[in-house]
């Protein structure tokens, strides 16, 4: 009886080991299962999720106009003080002053990509882009001004 159990044990053990080896053997012989992506080489065919939060951008239309009113909602919503909005006052033709952004400063190095600024924006002036290759040699390059030079607020955006 003891011998029988002993032999049974040994055979059970060998069988369980063989099951595992069959699994790895399957993957060894089936090269199509390889899932590696050759990253820098496949940049052209890389499929990125469009919602991926890579950095904050401010879309401009063809007339170099954006939708930012300079209300600072994003600046308040940001948990890390990533966004700094510097406002100026445009003098309108009728002599009234109108608030507009001078600079929309965005510190990429502080950003945690939480997306709260985009949530807070009442005019959808900013959005998250799915770019992700942010590394640069100089840290100063990570501080960006999002509104393009000479850009204006789009007509009708309040």
């Amino acid at each position: 009886m003891f011998i029988k159990n002993y032999i049974k044990e040994v055979f059970g053990a060998v069988k369980s080991l063989w099951t595992g080896m069959r699994m790895t053997g399957y993957y060894f012989t089936h090269k199509k299962e390889v899932i590696t992506e050759q990253y820098p080489d496949n940049r052209a065919t890389l499929q990125l999720a469009e919602r991926f939060r890579g950095e904050v951008v401010m879309p401009h239309d063809e007339n170099n106009q954006h939708a930012c009113t300079g209300c600072s909602a994003c600046e308040i919503a940001c948990p890390n003080a990533t966004i700094k909005i510097i406002n100026k006052f445009d003098i309108l033709p009728d002599g009234k002053k109108k608030k507009a952004i001078d600079k929309f400063v965005y510190h990429l190095e502080l950003c945690t990509m939480c997306g709260l600024c985009v949530e807070a924006c009442p005019t959808s002036a900013i959005k998250m882009a799915n770019t992700f290759e942010h590394s640069v040699y100089d840290r100063r390059q990570l501080t960006k001004t999002l509104n393009q030079p000479g850009s204006k607020i789009r007509e009708g955006v309040e």
């Binding site: 040994v10 080991l17 595992g20 993957y27 060894f28 390889v34 050759q38």
Partner: protein, 358 residues
């Protein structure tokens, strides 16, 4: 057809023509030494690359593929990096032993190379106690590991070395006994004779079930003796970070690494010689056409092919199984492998006496 044997006799003849016996012997010694070291380097680079590729495919990855075609020069680049690194010796270490240990390990690995038959009549030293010599010398590598572990002055290294000591000493037994089962069949310890005795069929086929059992036990014990997973307790990276070579870096680490792969090659070569017929081609009974076709494949290719197959099996083990615990490791040896191999040896002796194996 060019064979290793012909090249060797050619060189030997040429040397004898030009020099007297003593100088010829000296030159041949140097040639053998250079050849062995070159083989070491090539084997180390090749086997590491092979291991990485095997592991990668099993792990649904690509493996090295940047340096050279299919990443074949990756290991050379790694070695270059290791050579250029500082060979650090820790302050608390026993300097002499610490620096001696990797050299000792590599020398032991080199010594075992002597009696292995790489091809037909191509052997460094056809000593008449070849198998005994191999098992005697291979047990010395544990001294190097113990030395490394002790002299590092590191607790992880010490634990790893102690584990390794217990492990190698116990597994030597079942490895030796499974080797003995073949010695019982051939009646000789000489490697060339063992190979010759397999002309009509390899022992794993001729030796009935006991030979297969002995073969399996030998592979398990060989895996354990070379400190490979699932018996890599001496290194056990998730427990002891790197075990006995925790404190080693640079070329000294590379020597340990190299010795590991050389040892794998050697135990697999022994396994191939004893059980799979060494350089002997595959012959099936009286199928003359098939046997002739097999004879056309050079004997060195046969030997290398068998050895690489066994190495692959050992790599397959490593990338499939979890590691054993230290007490389970010893249980496996003393409660399973040793009794089984003893009984197996007995059965084999009966078979040999009754002459059933012929």
């Amino acid at each position: 057809m060019i064979s290793l044997e012909k090249i060797a006799t050619l060189i030997d003849g040429w040397l004898h023509q030009h020099f007297n016996d003593v100088i010829t012997l000296l030159i041949e010694c140097v040639l053998v030494g250079v050849g062995a070291i070159a083989l070491f380097a090539l084997l180390g680079l090749g086997l590491v690359w092979m291991e990485r590729k095997v592991a990668a495919l099993m792990q649904i990855r690509m493996g090295p593929n940047r340096v050279g075609p299919k990443g074949i020069f990756q290991t050379s680049a790694d070695t270059l990096k290791l050579i250029m690194k500082e060979g650090l010796t820790p302050d608390g270490a026993d300097k002499l032993l610490f620096n001696l240990a990797p050299v000792l390990v590599i020398i032991v690995a080199m010594l075992i190379l002597a009696p292995i038959a790489f091809a037909k009549n191509f052997q460094i030293w056809d000593i008449n106690i070849g198998v005994l010599y191999v098992s005697a010398v291979s047990s010395m590598s544990v001294i190097g590991i113990l030395m490394a572990g002790w002299s590092s002055g590191n607790k992880y290294a010490l634990l790893g070395a102690m584990r390794s000591g217990a492990q190698i000493v116990s597994y030597e037994l079942s490895a030796g006994i499974s080797v003995l089962t073949i010695v019982v069949l051939t009646g000789s310890l000489q490697i060339s004779e063992i190979v010759q005795s397999q002309q009509t069929g390899w022992w794993i086929f001729k030796g009935h079930i006991p030979a297969i059992i002995a073969f399996v036990i030998f592979i398990i014990a060989a895996t354990a003796e070379t400190n490979r997973a699932p018996f890599d307790l001496a290194e056990a990276e998730s427990e002891l970070t790197a075990g006995f070579h925790t404190e080693y870096s640079g070329m000294k680490f590379a020597l340990f690494f190299l010795a590991e792969y050389i040892n794998i090659f050697i135990v697999c070569a022994i396994g191939a010689t004893l059980f799979l017929g060494g350089w002997m081609p595959l012959h099936i009974g009286n199928v003359q056409a098939f046997n002739h076709a097999m004879d056309y494949i050079p004997s060195s290719i046969w030997f290398l092919g068998k050895t690489l197959f066994l190495i692959f099996v050992i790599m397959w083990f490593r990338w499939t199984f979890p590691r054993l615990r230290v007490d389970q490791l010893l249980n496996l040896e003393w409660k399973y492998l040793l009794p089984i191999s003893l009984v197996n040896l007995l059965v084999m002796t009966v078979i040999a006496i009754l002459g059933w194996h012929l």
